[in-house]
């Protein structure tokens, strides 16, 4: 185990207390909403913020932080990529990339020589003499990545590395970042509020809300079986807590959902919006899950219209724009919603 952290910090009214570990060559995403304490955790790992408790261990037994030891940032073997690159504006790109080597005592010429291949690797060959202000957003973030990776740090920290980029650049830089992370032999921690970044880049995800880890697992597990509303919304699911008995779940908020599998005790029911069908009249035939609901809001979402429904079982339905028009729906309308039992995921809380 190459990075193990238990971080306890009080930041104003937010009490952060999270634990996780990252193996060599592994990428861990810390996913959570703004203000959840993600960046605070990253600052502790970086040594920029001294935690109030817990410990940070590297390589199994080397202490970076514990009750009586605090290794300052500049003595930690780490690289960090910030949201808005933070390249030093008064230095050239090459000098920026060589900065870490220079401050660790490498002579100027040697540092520049070592920095050059990194510029090649991130696709910035020939741009080394430019100032950061002369780079595009994507180029600057690539340079920032190179700057963080030079010197083979044990730990790589990425703080929302893609969120300052526009959509197209983000796609390209994300693909490249994925490649570099795959080659990176140390432990990487990626902080993001974008589930796509977490799914695309990480081997494991921990979801942090209000300073606590609320879910941990592989990206696929987290996407399939969200455990909080926040994650469910991120991955586009409606999450309903309830109590299972046989093939039925009595929801905590009232109402009953029929499921295909046997369920017992406290469970989550997860419904995909595209599996919800809407009707003006009670549908005839087999579906066991039929509820009379009211359309609260409808917003276009690509080629579908996302319908927020209120009533006994609050649901979200994605219907095609054509179907929405044919139904003649408007907010406030009464509709019948149905979901096949086989389309409902159920898992223990």
């Amino acid at each position: 185990m190459s990075l193990a952290a238990h971080v306890v910090v009080q930041r104003g009214s937010l009490a952060v207390d999270v634990s996780f570990s990252v193996a060599d060559g592994e990428v861990l995403a810390v996913l959570g909403p703004n203000g959840a304490g993600k960046s605070t955790v990253l600052r502790v790992l970086a040594g920029l913020l001294r935690p109030d408790g817990g410990e940070v261990l590297v390589d199994g037994d080397r202490v970076w932080d514990d009750a009586d030891r605090h290794v300052p940032a500049h003595q930690r073997s780490l690289g960090m990529v910030f949201q808005d690159h933070l390249l030093f504006p008064h230095l050239s790109v090459t000098e920026n990339v060589a900065f870490g080597l220079r401050s660790r005592g490498v002579r100027k010429a040697a540092a520049r020589a070592e920095a050059a291949p990194w510029l090649d690797r991130v696709g910035l060959a020939g741009l080394g003499d430019r100032r950061p202000g002369e780079l595009s957003g994507g180029q600057a973030q690539r340079a920032a990545l190179a700057r963080a990776l030079v010197g083979d740090p044990r730990v790589l920290l990425l703080d929302e590395p893609l969120s300052a980029l526009d959509a197209r650049t983000r796609l390209a830089v994300r693909a490249e970042l994925h490649r570099h992370l795959a080659d990176y032999p140390g432990s990487a921690v990626l902080v993001t509020h974008d589930p796509v970044d977490a799914m695309a880049l990480a081997d494991r995800v921990v979801v942090v809300e209000e300073g606590r880890v609320v879910q941990a697992g592989t990206p696929a597990e987290v996407a399939r079986r969200p455990r909080t509303d926040y994650v469910a919304r991120l991955v586009g699911l409606v999450l309903l807590p309830g109590t299972g008995e046989g093939q039925q779940v009595a929801l905590d908020g009232g109402g009953v959902v029929a499921v295909a599998e046997e369920a017992a005790g406290p469970v989550f029911v997860a419904v995909r919006p595209e599996s919800v069908a809407l009707y003006l009249d009670r549908p005839a035939g087999s579906p066991r899950n039929v509820w009379p609901l009211r359309l609260a809001a409808a917003t276009p979402h690509g080629s579908v219209v996302r319908c927020d429904l209120t009533g006994e079982v609050p649901l979200t339905a994605d219907v095609t724009a054509t179907a929405f028009a044919e139904l003649g729906l408007a907010p406030g309308a009464d509709v019948w919603a149905s979901v096949k039992a086989s389309e409902v995921a159920v898992y223990t809380r």
Binding site: A73, H74, G79, F82, H90, S103
Partner: protein
Amino acid sequence: MKRQRGGGVPLPLLVPAVLAVSFLVLPLVGLVVRAPWSSIGPQLVQREVGQALRLSLLSATLATGVSLVLGVPLAWVLARSRLRGRSVLRALVTVPLVLPPVVGGVALFLVLGRTGLLGRPLYEHLGVTIPFSTTAVVIAETFVAMPFLVISVEGALRAADARFEDAAATLGADRWTTFRRVTLPLVAPGIAAGAVLCWARALGEFGATITFAGNFPGTTQTMPLAVYLALQSDPDAAIALSLVLLAVSLATLLLLRGRWLGQREVTA
């Protein structure tokens, strides 16, 4: 549409504003108009004038140098350190800003004079006397001018993005290296502006200088002192000397223009 007279400034604001401008500009216009332009050349080549000008430039530059060496670190402490009592420290530093310079001169005399707190041991053990020397001029000017530099640099440090320093720390730079290689270059324009301001203040220093250093031609008589003295005996000479100081001040303003009056530079 017809443009409003006075550029849309309401009359109750326009009248005082015009008066204020006149009040600030007229004396300078008067100085230029009344100047004995025909005799100004000979006035300026007098030995005392050259001496005073040289001494003024030298002492103001030395005072600025001392202020930079001591003041920039102080500004960093005020802006960046987590020292307790920083607000008290800042208040202490700004006292010379509001203190009448004469009081500053008296205070310096009491500390560094031959019988002063520090002056006595200096004189008794090393035989060093500070008051009424060029050193005293530099000390008096530094005392009065350094706060301008400190306040200016502290402002620049606060405005600079401290996260660059975080980035430097994650790249293995300790705080001193970070200061030298990141912070200092980032706030260099602010330091330059502070230094110019400090230099201009030192150049015009009168009260503390005459109290602590006296008025000896060649060693402590700076331009402002020479102007004051000349006004008693030879008004034309005083006007000529004043013009020189005015020219130097305008040159200083021109140096700063790009920063304060021109469009603001975009900082990344």
